[in-house]
């Protein structure tokens, strides 16, 4: 990811060509699943309004969302930023986490189930309407070509 993708000299830049090249590379990488990432789903949350009419974006967003839909409910490493009493504070936090786990586990596992079901429903709706629109477009094209032949 850190590797430079394009090497462009200083002279004769055409930003239109560069952006087109980047878009082609992004499309290729998307196909290979390189952007299926929960972090991207979170980053795109405010971009949805801008791209509401962009079919490809919705498909891409749903793919990222699949990665983000399940909240991590497992144990995690507990840290303490404050230097003073840090060991004591970590121990205290661990006890609190253990005491609350039975409650949060039940809550979040149910939430994860709901998230997954909702995402599946949105995906199936998207697929269904995409199929419908494709069929209608094909039908219109057929009718138009018939008309043109008359």
């Amino acid at each position: 990811m850190n590797r430079p993708m394009f090497e462009i000299g200083a002279n004769g830049i055409d930003v239109g060509n560069v952006v087109a090249e980047i878009q082609a590379t992004v499309a290729e990488k998307m196909k290979n699943g390189m952007y299926v990432d929960a972090r991207i789903a979170r980053a795109e949350r405010t971009n949805i309004a801008n791209l509401k009419n962009d079919e490809d974006f919705l498909a891409f967003y749903l793919e990222c969302l699949r990665d983000a839909v399940a909240v991590d409910i497992n144990d995690f490493v507990i840290h303490e930023k404050r230097a003073l009493f840090s060991k004591l504070l970590v121990a205290l936090k661990k006890v609190i986490w253990k005491l609350l786990k039975f409650y949060t586990y039940r809550l979040w596992s149910q939430q994860n189930q709901t998230n997954t079901l909702l995402l599946s429903a949105v995906e199936s709706l998207e697929e269904r309407y995409r199929e419908k629109i494709r069929n209608l477009e094909e039908r219109i094209a057929r009718l138009e070509s018939k008309d043109a032949c008359k």
């Binding site: 430079p4 830049i13 980047i22 878009q23 972090r39 979170r42 980053a43 405010t46 971009n47």
Partner: protein, 395 residues
């Protein structure tokens, strides 16, 4: 100069004085000053409000000479039904159809100044041209009906739900003409409105004063050791600042690169905990400091999709810094294409690749920065804009 434009009046809801005014107000004030400098008489009619959220009458009513312009301040009408205004506004924002009667209620409860309109009615016959904007205010809608044959709109039009209202379409159709800020803005207006009666429409825009910057000064003054992006202006969802912060967060996490974000301007930005050390919020800076901050940045990122000109984009070009803009902003994308000084992104992956490219290639950054500077000096010098402005006034 002909008799057609000896005395020009301006109408704008706020007068650009101090740090918190927007681009449209700055644009109208600058146009007024250029017209005054050309020897024409200029009168500026505005309200006593400064805050674009509360619209309270903060300034005293009356006339003052500010920056060689004769400015008349009138109080904003107190009797606004804000609840009714917001109810209809939320329907319009959600693209729901509202009746023309409701559009009118919305406009009547928007920012208005009856005393300004009365003054314009009484004195309008002494003006040869009345320049007014931006389009999205009741004040402009009603003032444009007083002397439509003399009125030139500076609409600062965006592709947003309000632009599709019938009343707004009628306003564009009834005035003498429009002075647009960019070609895409004019194209948008031609797509949305018939503009049969308005015989004059020109692309004028705004001129930019050149400035010099010394590389490295800002970074050393603020002890910034890593590369950074910059955004200047109001921080609010409509300007796309939450999107920029989210993108920076994802970029840093996915690429493990220590890229910072410098914010200048006003408004509140919600900064996630993990970015507290990576976002440097400097608040309102002097023009000189802002330009120095722009000059040291890897790129200026302007994620707003609703811009009719983009003053900060031009400033960034003048500072020799390339830009990254959202592809849904036709105007900003147009400037990038014309100047060869910026990239546009549709989604995060494009942003990531473009930022990586700029971070890794200083030669490219320099070349793009230089191209941007040349573009502004050629296309947006005041000399060039003056010519277009005076032709538009004489039409």
């Amino acid at each position: 100069m002909t008799d057609r434009s000896r005395h020009v009046a301006f109408v704008c809801p706020r007068f650009a004085e101090g740090p918190t005014v927007g681009g449209a107000e700055t644009l109208l004030k600058n146009l007024a000053r250029r017209i005054a400098l050309s020897g024409r008489k200029v009168t500026f009619l505005t309200t006593c409000a400064r805050n674009h959220f509360t619209w309270e009458n903060e300034l005293p009513a009356g006339s003052r000479t500010i920056d060689d312009i004769d400015v008349h301040f009138f109080p904003v009408d107190p009797e606004r039904n804000v609840t009714e205004f917001l109810n209809i506004q939320s329907l319009i924002s959600a693209n729901c159809r509202v009746s023309v009667a409701d559009e009118l209620i919305w406009l009547q409860n928007s920012v208005n100044s009856g005393s300004l309109c009365d003054y314009l009615k009484e004195n309008g016959n002494t003006y040869d041209r009345i320049v007014m904007g931006p389009y999205l205010f009741g004040l402009i809608y009603f003032a444009s009906q007083i002397y439509p044959e003399k009125t030139l709109l500076v609409p600062c039009l965006h592709d947003e739900s309000f632009a599709y209202l019938k009343s707004i379409g009628n306003m564009f159709n009834n005035v003498r003409g429009c002075m647009f800020n960019s070609v895409p803005e004019k194209e948008l207006a031609s797509r949305l409105y018939v503009m049969e009666k308005s015989s004059v429409s020109s692309v004028v825009g705004m001129g930019m004063d050149d400035f010099a910057t010394t590389p490295g000064i800002f970074k050393s003054a603020h002890d910034i050791r890593s590369q950074y992006l910059i955004y200047s202006g109001r921080r609010e969802p409509l300007k796309g600042t939450p999107l920029l912060i989210d993108y920076l967060n994802a970029f840093r996490s996915r690429t493990n690169r220590d890229v910072k974000l410098v914010l200048t301007g006003t408004g509140h930005a919600e900064i996630p905990e993990e970015l507290t050390n990576s976002i440097i919020d400097l608040g309102f800076l002097s023009e000189k400091d802002k330009h120095a901050a722009m000059a040291d940045a890897v790129a200026f990122c302007h994620p707003s999709v609703n811009e009719s000109f983009g003053i900060v984009l031009m400033e960034s070009f003048l500072a020799g810094t390339p830009v990254l803009v959202h592809s849904k902003s036709a105007v900003l994308k147009y400037h990038c294409k014309q100047s060869n000084a910026g990239f546009w992104f549709n989604s995060y992956p494009e942003f990531e690749e473009e930022l990586q490219l700029l971070l890794n290639n200083q030669k490219l950054r320099n070349a793009m920065g230089n191209a941007g500077r040349q573009y502004v000096l050629k296309e947006h010098s005041w000399h060039h804009i003056d010519e277009k402005l005076f032709v538009a006034l004489e039409k």
